[in-house]
Each structure stands twice: as C-alpha cells, then as structure tokens.
Subunit: 183 residues, 4 copies
C-alpha cells in the first residue's frame, strides 16, 4: 500500500481545494491510500527554530509525517497570482533543517483551482518551480487547472458533471502510473 | 515627506535582508522616510477572518499601516526558489478583504538577496508576478539581486565595499525618481 | 500625437492576435496613433551579426522603427506555456547590440490570448519577466487575458459582445493614462 | 545504446553553450551517445505551414530526428531573462502539428549558462515551464546554473577547474540514472 499525502493550500472552512482533496481520498486507486495532511498549525518558518534546536512540536510532527509518505499531491488556490502562504510555509518547513529535505526524491503532482477562469495557473507553476529545488518528481501530464470551482462539486461533494468525474479519475490513475514509473 | 515601508522576507534574528533594510533606512534620500514594517505576527491568511468579520488585531493594524505609506520596498531571501511564506502572507493580508487591496496603485521596488550565488532570482520574479495583480507600480531598473550576502556588510552594518555602497545609493536614488515619476 | 507600436506574436494568416491588434488600431484614443510593427522577417537573433558589423537590413529597419515609437503593446498567443519564438526574437533583436536597448524606458502593455481557456497566462508573465530587464514600463492593471478567442470577434473584426468591446476600450483608455503618467 | 539529443540555445560561432554541448558529447556515460542537434535553420514557427500541408524540409528533418532520440538535454543562455528565440522555436516546431508532440514522454534535462553571475536562472525555469506542457520528463536535481562562462573552459574545450569537471561528470551520471529510472 502506498501512502500519498494531500496538501491543501487554503484554510477557509468551505475551501474548494479541500473539497477536491476529500473527493480524491474517496477515489484513490487500488494500492494507494490518500490522506489530507494538516498544515494550518505550522508557525511561519523561522530558521532560528532549527539553528537554536528549539523546534516547534508542530514542525516535528509534520516532518515525521512526510517522512512516512510515498508521494505528495499539492492542491492549491491562487492568491495574488502565486502560492498561498500556508502552502509555501509547509514546503519550507518540510525542507529544513539544511541537509534534511523531507520531500527529496519522492513523486508528486500539482492541482490548482479557482472560482475564476484562469485555472490558478500562476500558483500551479510557482509551486512547480519550488518543487524542482525540493527534488519532488512531479508528474508533468496531465496538468490540472480547475476553473469555475463553484460549479464543479455538488452538495454531497461529488463532481457535478461526468467530464469532471472523468478528469479526476484519469488524474489519479495517471498519478498511480507515475508513482510506479519512478519508484 | 514621502513614507516608504520596507518589508523583510525573513524572520531570522541575524537576517541578511534585515541588514539591507536597516542600512537603507539610514540612506533614504532627502524627502523620503524609510521604515521597516513588521510582518512577523500576522497569522496565516484565512479568508474566514474577513468573511466572518472576525479580523485579527494584527491584520487591522497592518492594513492601517500600509494605507499610510506612499510606497513599498520588498527585501526578500529565496526559500526553495520562491518567496518565503512570511512575505507572501503579508502581501495576501494587505490585499484583502476583496475589493480593498491596500497595495493598489502605489510605487514599489524589489530587492532579493542570498548567501549563495544566484541572487535569489526566483524569489525576485515570483514576487513581481504577485505585484502585477496587486497593481504595485514596480520599478523595473535597476534590478537588485544581491549574492554572497555574508560578505556584503561589515560588523557595523555598512557595506564592506564601495561597489556595494554605490549600488545601494544608486538604488534608493533611482527609486526616489521612480516614485516621483509615477505619483 | 503619440505613436504606439503593436507587436503580434503569431505569424498565422488568420491569427487571433492580429485581429486584436487590428481592432485596437481602430479604437486608439485621441492623441494616440497605433500601428502594427512587422516582426516576421527578422532572422533568428545571432550576436555575430552585431559583433561582425554584418547587421541584416531587417534588423536595422526594425531598430529604427522602435526608436521612433513612444510606447509598445505586445499581443501574444501562448505556445507551449510560453512566448512564441517570433515575439521573443523581436524583443531580442530590439534589445541589441549591447548597450543599445531600443525598448529602454518607454511605456508598454501586454495582452495575451488563446482559443483555449487559460488566458495564455504563461506567455503573458514570461513576457513581463523579459520586459523587466528591458526596462519597459509595463502597465500592471488591467491585466488582459483573453480566452475562447474563436468567439471574441465577428466576421467584420469587431467584438461580438459588449463586454468585450467595453474591455478593449477600457484597456486602451487605461494605457493612455499610463503613458501620460510615466512620460 | 541510448541516443540523447543536445539542443543549444545560441547561434554565436563562439557560443559558450556550444562548448558545454561539445564537452558533454565527449563525456557521455557508457551506454549513451550524445549528439548536437542543429536548430538554426528552422524558420520561425508558423502554424499555416502545418495547416496548409506546406511543411518546410527543415521541419520535417528536425521532427524525424527527435523521433529517433531517447532523451534531450537543453543547454541555454539567457536572453533578456528568458529563453532565446532559436531554442523556443525548436521546441515549438518539434511540438506540432497538433496531436503530434515529438517531445512527448521522453526524459530530459536543462543546463543554463551565462558569462554573468545569475546562472541564467530565468531561462532555465521558463524552459522548464514549457517542458511541463510538452511532457518531457525533466530531471529535477541536480539543477545546472553555470555562471562566469568565460572562465569555465580552457582553450582545448575542457573545464578549467576540477570542480567544473566534477560537476559536469556528476550531471551526466545523474541524467543517465534518471533516464534509466523513467524509461
């Protein structure tokens, strides 16, 4: 069984991205377990924590969690044409202390979404640039830019259209193949 | 007198970027007052705060502060090829609630720095992409990519070389001209 | 009268971006003359041309043309998530020989368009990154990401909807104000 | 034997990037053959060529060449903070006609270089953004940003320092492992 962590870039209670994450957890392919990893309680990264050996408990727990994962899916809105702080913070916390990059060498994927109509493209690719440095082996295709999020899920949290259902199912299938290809 | 806020993208006590900010405060051109604006106490942005009308005091104070500024200088390290969470968070907090973008229409500049040797290019340009959306009128030239930060300042916090001194003085002069050009 | 050059990033006869450019020429605000500048005959940039003093006639003519302009509008499709070669080539040719950047210090704007649905965001912002270095004073807002280009113009080359008409008119008005603000 | 194509983003006779490519050809690991693929004679991409069925001979030859390759290394300078037109053009030509992306699914790597000191970071990552869409399986680490190119090679075209020699040897070794990992 491969454990995949889902990281959601929005703290809003009714977050669209959380809906995507919850739905993906229900359709994880055979042989894969998807879990949402909480990132909201991580204090803003400060290198002094690590240098002083005064590492917040939440950092320790988070780093221990990602160490056990076999892959990552990042699901992000776009704030001001880039990645929300909460998600960038999780990347940074997981990448330190120096020499202990917890993301290193594992497979990953990116989904960006927006209530607007540009697919949160800016957040998607800024995230990818960070993931080069972190050596996360990111799936290139299919890209996932989800626009008009208000219409994508119904009240039960299932996709409202078969085209959306098909897209998400095809995405998790492609990611399973990618994970198997690189690990 | 024009008030320019300096925003530093690192929380580390001995932050190199703080050193740049402190030095710039001392060499602000005539007619300009430079002040460092604290961004470390802003909780990770959550839209629920604004939607619920339960806005943290620190958000309110920060938004009030940027409303009084005549321009902005962003001084940033690079974390994982992008902007540190603490600085992105400040941008996001200052840009909301929807319809009240506190950065809107004012002049700005970007400085990126690194103890390494690529000038924190990735952070510099990711920041610029956000500032397009925020409608900050960013100075294009001179760009400021400061590498090898360990050698740039002496123990009194002054540049160790005349070339660095000249660069910073020319930068604040160019920014003064840019502010006057667009306001 | 201010002369604005329009640069179109597609060579296709029936180019959507050419349609945008042609329409903008017809709605240039009072005091502005818009002209499409041909970039299709510029050979791929090779620094040897300039170093050897063996500069193609087309380069000389193009550089002379941009020297006479008071501002620039770049209208670009997206090829493979970035700027088409033909437009990047024009930027490069106009920026050389070293020390003679023909774009330097003049106002500009970016419009990106696509028959798809992501607004050619990738091309838009890659172009903006080059324009930082070239010191083109780019208008930040409004951004212009035009999706679904098949439906935007009618057979006479006018916008099919009042919302599109309004957007383009507001765009050229905002650009006129920006040109006046910075020059 | 795996055939790797090297694509050089500069047409200059004395191109630094060509030097890198030539050196890499000499140190290709066992089981790999490196060849430089010429991209200088490709006319600026125009979709009409493909739509009209009037495809330049150079396009046909280039597309046939990349079809035979088992992987790609892109070696690029930075022009105006982005990818030179000649290299972007090759990417675009190889990606069409629609539905026949010649780069699809094969492994690749990026090297950027500059006589300056920022490692041509901008070109490196703009290229990577295109390669996401083209579904080239790009090696994340090691990144290769080569600064101060004037000092990197001696007159025989070998690295002047053991650290450069080590870097390039480690790079081609890592790429060999990456190719084997994903194919």
């Amino acid at each position: 069984m491969k454990n995949i962590g889902l990281f959601v870039g929005s703290l809003r209670r009714a977050s669209y991205n959380k809906k995507i994450a919850q739905y993906l957890c229900r359709i994880a392919p055979e042989g894969f377990k998807y879990s949402i990893i909480s990132i909201e309680d991580l204090p803003l990264y400060n290198q002094d924590f690590d240098d002083d050996g005064d590492v917040p408990k939440s950092y320790q727990d988070f780093r221990a969690q990602i160490a056990k994962l076999d892959g990552f899916i990042f699901i992000t809105p776009e704030y001001n044409r880039s990645v929300p702080a909460v998600l960038k913070n999780a990347l940074d916390v997981g990448s330190r202390p120096y020499g202990k990059n917890g993301w290193n060498g594992k497979p990953g994927a990116v989904i960006s979404s927006t209530p607007g109509n540009l697919g949160a493209f800016g957040a998607n690719h800024h995230l990818r640039q960070s993931l080069v440095f972190l050596n996360v082996l990111i799936m290139q295709q299919p890209e996932a830019y989800i626009s008009n999020m208000k219409d994508i899920f119904d009240d039960e949290g299932n996709p409202s259209s078969t085209s959306s259902t098909d897209f998400f199912k095809q995405f998790v299938k492609a990611f399973a193949e990618w994970v198997n290809q690189v690990t």
